[in-house]
Symmetry: C2
DNA sequence: TTGACATGTGTACACCGTACACCTACCCTC
DNA sequence: GAGGGTAGGTGTACGGTGTACACATGTCAA
């Protein structure tokens, strides 16, 4: 008579964890709350998941499974751009994903595959192994389609009079912040918590890709130079 | 006879917290461990610090206080570069700083001052308010002198035979990762936890600055264009 | 039918942050 | 000097966390 609840599965546990984190936030996701959500005692989860860290690892893997297939072609830049923006689109559905990804300490095969594919895009695009390494570092967390927003806002007092006074003080103390905040006040959604708005992300990504394109050109030029040098020093022999 | 311990101060609490986090890691820093370290009961700390979050805020502020003065001049690029690298040098002494900064939700006046100064560097360098806004987003967490390393390594089995088998499997499954790992194996310190190695950080920063320089040139070009346009349409009147 | 094994339970432990009431020792004022 | 307010430190307690360990149960194979 107690066979109402379907049997627990690792996949079911992960799906429930994702759903719970999506709806109630990552802070509300504890082994206990997840167990209660599944109508089960906390320790039951440990039969399907080694612990909380492994649960989070699995959640990331499960989300990454939804990624579209790797774009083909040999032009590194559009391929990379498309890939990263697709990842962004996938992760945007899960506000907790950025912070969880950032705190992972071990890469699962799925994560490794993702990174290997990105490196492959660089390599087939003409980047040397060395330059690919640096480029991956330059991408950093941006390879996951988001950037950590470090634009925290100070607490504003509720009383409007006090707030006006604070704004006046701000005006003299942080003139550029006020200028930029007012200049871009019309942008809705630029205050998104986990991920920054689309336009800002694309700006950042494209600026970085410009820088990498310059480095690739330098690499090709120096390779051509050294080839000429080798030819020159080899021919007299 | 119990007057051995000097009186607690907010500054003393913050200094003790920083020292404890430096030596034992940020995970070992709890209100209880900090209190024990100071020979005091946990709740005593709350007389000087509102709570744990405020403690962490204060730790960041205390570290930032050690920053060198803002470099002068009007050339945005060397100024920005010097500023950020100086911040990096300051934060490198505190491995916990990156993760703590990332989790702050409110900006203290000290943090706001830092960001305002960065914006000032852009503005005096010719960036429009709008472009400065985007540039700050593009800097993102890199404005603090580090980038989150998202290069986690999978757990390697202790048994050498198993490890060899794993490496062989890696070779076929993640060829680019292996290629790049072996190509850059000689770099010591590239596995640093919180901050990436100096060369990688500077590469990333410079690549990004290249991209921003291009955007600044575009902005100036379009401003000149629209000025010409205005002149042309105004003169007939 | 029986036993093995996977699945779920119950209890317990050591932590965490912090609310609240209390005590104590100092400094300032009369 | 006496008195009192207050800042600093204490003790206890509550609700939360992850998870180790022993035990019960239910399902499938032999």
């Amino acid at each position: 008579m107690s066979t109402e609840r379907p049997r627990l599965t690792r996949d079911r546990v992960l799906a429930a964890a994702i759903a719970l984190a999506d709806s109630s936030g990552i802070d509300a996701l504890s082994m206990r709350s997840l167990a209660a959500d599944q109508g089960v005692v906390p320790m039951a989860l440990y039969k399907h998941v080694a612990g909380k860290q492994e649960l989070l690892d699995g959640m990331v893997d499960a989300v990454l499974t939804g990624l579209p297939p790797l774009p083909g072609g040999s032009e590194w830049r559009p391929r990379l751009r498309e890939r990263i923006l697709a990842t962004r689109a996938t992760l945007l559905a899960h506000p907790w994903a950025p912070s969880v990804i950032e705190t992972r300490t071990h890469a699962s095969p799925i994560v490794l595959t993702y990174m290997d594919e990105l490196m492959g895009i660089f390599r087939t695009g003409g980047f040397s192994a060395e330059l690919t390494h640096l480029a991956m570092h330059a991408l950093g967390i941006r390879m996951w389609g988001f950037t950590r927003e470090v634009f925290p806002t100070p607490a504003t007092p509720a009383d409007p009079e006090q707030r006006a006074a604070m704004l006046a003080q701000f005006q003299t103390q942080f003139p550029h912040i006020v200028e930029i905040a007012t200049a871009t006040a019309g942008h809705p959604g630029s205050e998104t918590a986990g991920c920054d708005a689309q336009v800002e992300f694309e700006f950042s990504l494209d600026a970085l890709l410009d820088g990498l394109a310059l480095r690739l050109a330098e690499q090709k030029a120096s390779a051509a130079n050294s080839a000429r040098g080798r030819q020159r020093s080899a021919s007299p022999r």
